[in-house]
């Protein structure tokens, strides 16, 4: 198999483009896709201070690497989840990555800073482990970005992530979520702008990029994620993609180009400040504070009849899909 650009032996095949690339040419086309995403959705300005949400996995480290190489002012934020050896290793590779590049890294630890870890949250809370993990991450990222004066949060969601999320939202006709599944969510009411510069690149491409760059990332999957709904949707999409390369891209990128505007009127969320922490929410207390109080056995003073059912509905979807729930352009 030959490289489409130079004819040298290829190391990575991108079947949806009916193309293959050698290492050198892949290092050209990969960041070009990132630059295209940034430009198309006006994601980043040259002067922005960017906070990259880093897990120690291939996607977030590949994203951080590309943004630094493109000259952006990109710091990393790592959230320690307390998931045994998995979290220990994730923290170590993230610290090593930052150190090798002399990049700023902010470390937050759920247990140390908020009083619980994810395994405990999964056992004691009413939400699934993946749901409370996603909720905790979104909360910590936004709060850290606000407190640190960052202009934008960048996450490593790739094409496979976004296609699987859109599939799940569509199967349930979650029109409010469908309306917000944009790769760039503008800042709004205490929510920092969020962007997904890897949304045009597949999981295979981000893994190949990380490997070819020699980035030491955590290959192992989170031990708590096995069998989650997101993985089942990815399996379904991959089964279709195997026989029809390009389907994932047509589904998600086609949605962005042609369908997202049609769902715009479904985006009705109004945000107010959480009475406990001040972070944005649709109810009296934000989902993070309510989850944390439940896990720690604390009371927030909310009466049952004051519970915000809209927010509960959002969380319900969050149980099965790692969607980000706020913003007016998703």
């Amino acid at each position: 198999m030959k490289c489409r650009r130079c004819g040298e032996p290829a190391v990575i095949e991108v079947r949806r483009h009916n193309a293959a690339y050698c290492k050198a040419c892949f290092f050209h086309v990969f960041p070009e896709q990132v630059k295209r995403a940034i430009k198309q959705y006006d994601m980043l300005r040259p002067t922005d201070r960017i906070l990259v949400a880093v897990s120690g996995g291939k996607d977030s480290l590949a994203l951080w690497d590309v943004l630094l190489r493109l000259g952006y002012d990109a710091a990393g934020l790592y959230l320690g989840l307390g998931i045994g050896e998995y979290s220990t290793r994730s923290g170590e590779v993230t610290k090593a990555f930052a150190s090798e590049r002399d990049a700023e890294l902010i470390m937050v630890d759920l247990e140390r800073d908020h009083g619980y870890d994810i395994p405990t949250a999964g056992r004691k809370g009413s939400r699934s482990t993946c749901a409370v993990c996603g909720l905790s991450k979104r909360y910590v990222f936004n709060r850290a970005a606000l407190e640190g004066g960052f202009d934008v949060i960048a996450t490593g969601h790739n094409l496979d992530d976004e296609a699987a999320t859109l599939l799940g939202n569509t199967l349930r006709w979650q029109t409010e979520y469908i309306a917000r599944q944009s790769p760039a969510l503008p800042a709004k009411d205490g929510m920092v702008k969020k962007v997904k510069p890897l949304h045009r690149l597949s999981e295979l491409e981000t893994a190949a990029y990380a490997f070819l760059r020699g980035i030491d990332y955590v290959v192992e999957e989170c031990p708590l994620v096995a069998g989650n709904t997101q993985l089942r949707y990815k399996d379904a999409m991959n089964a279709i993609e195997a026989n029809s390369p390009g389907t994932k891209a047509q589904f998600f990128l086609g949605y962005l180009d042609r369908a997202m505007p049609l769902f715009k009127k479904e985006d009705t969320a109004q945000l107010v400040a959480c009475e406990a922490c001040g972070q944005p929410t649709t109810g009296r207390f934000c989902a993070f504070c309510r989850a944390r109080a439940q896990i720690l056995g604390e009371r927030l003073g909310e009466r049952a009849d004051e519970r915000d059912t809209t927010d509960d509905m959002r969380e319900l979807s969050d149980e099965v899909l790692p969607v980000e729930i706020y913003g007016d352009a998703r």
Binding site: M1, A10, V11, I12, E13, R15, A20, K23, A53, S55, G57, K58, D59, S60, C130, C133, G134, K137, T155, G156, H157, D160, D161, S202, E203, L204, T206, A207, A208, F211, L212, V219, E221, C222, V225, N228, Q230, L231, K234, N238, A239, E241, A242, P245, P322
Partner: protein
């Protein structure tokens, strides 16, 4: 061919031989040591 025999979708793994990434059409010998590395992750980033 190796992936076909194993029933693995080539879009879901990196195939690494002696520290080098190879494509699905690359020929491998019995003596080659091959790593098949999954690329799918299921958590929220």
């Amino acid at each position: 061919m190796v992936l076909d025999e194993l029933g693995v979708n080539p879009d879901t793994v990196l195939v690494i031989r002696s520290g080098e990434l190879i494509t699905r059409e690359a020929r491998v010998d019995d003596a080659d040591e091959i790593e098949i590395r999954p690329v799918i992750s299921g958590g929220s980033a």
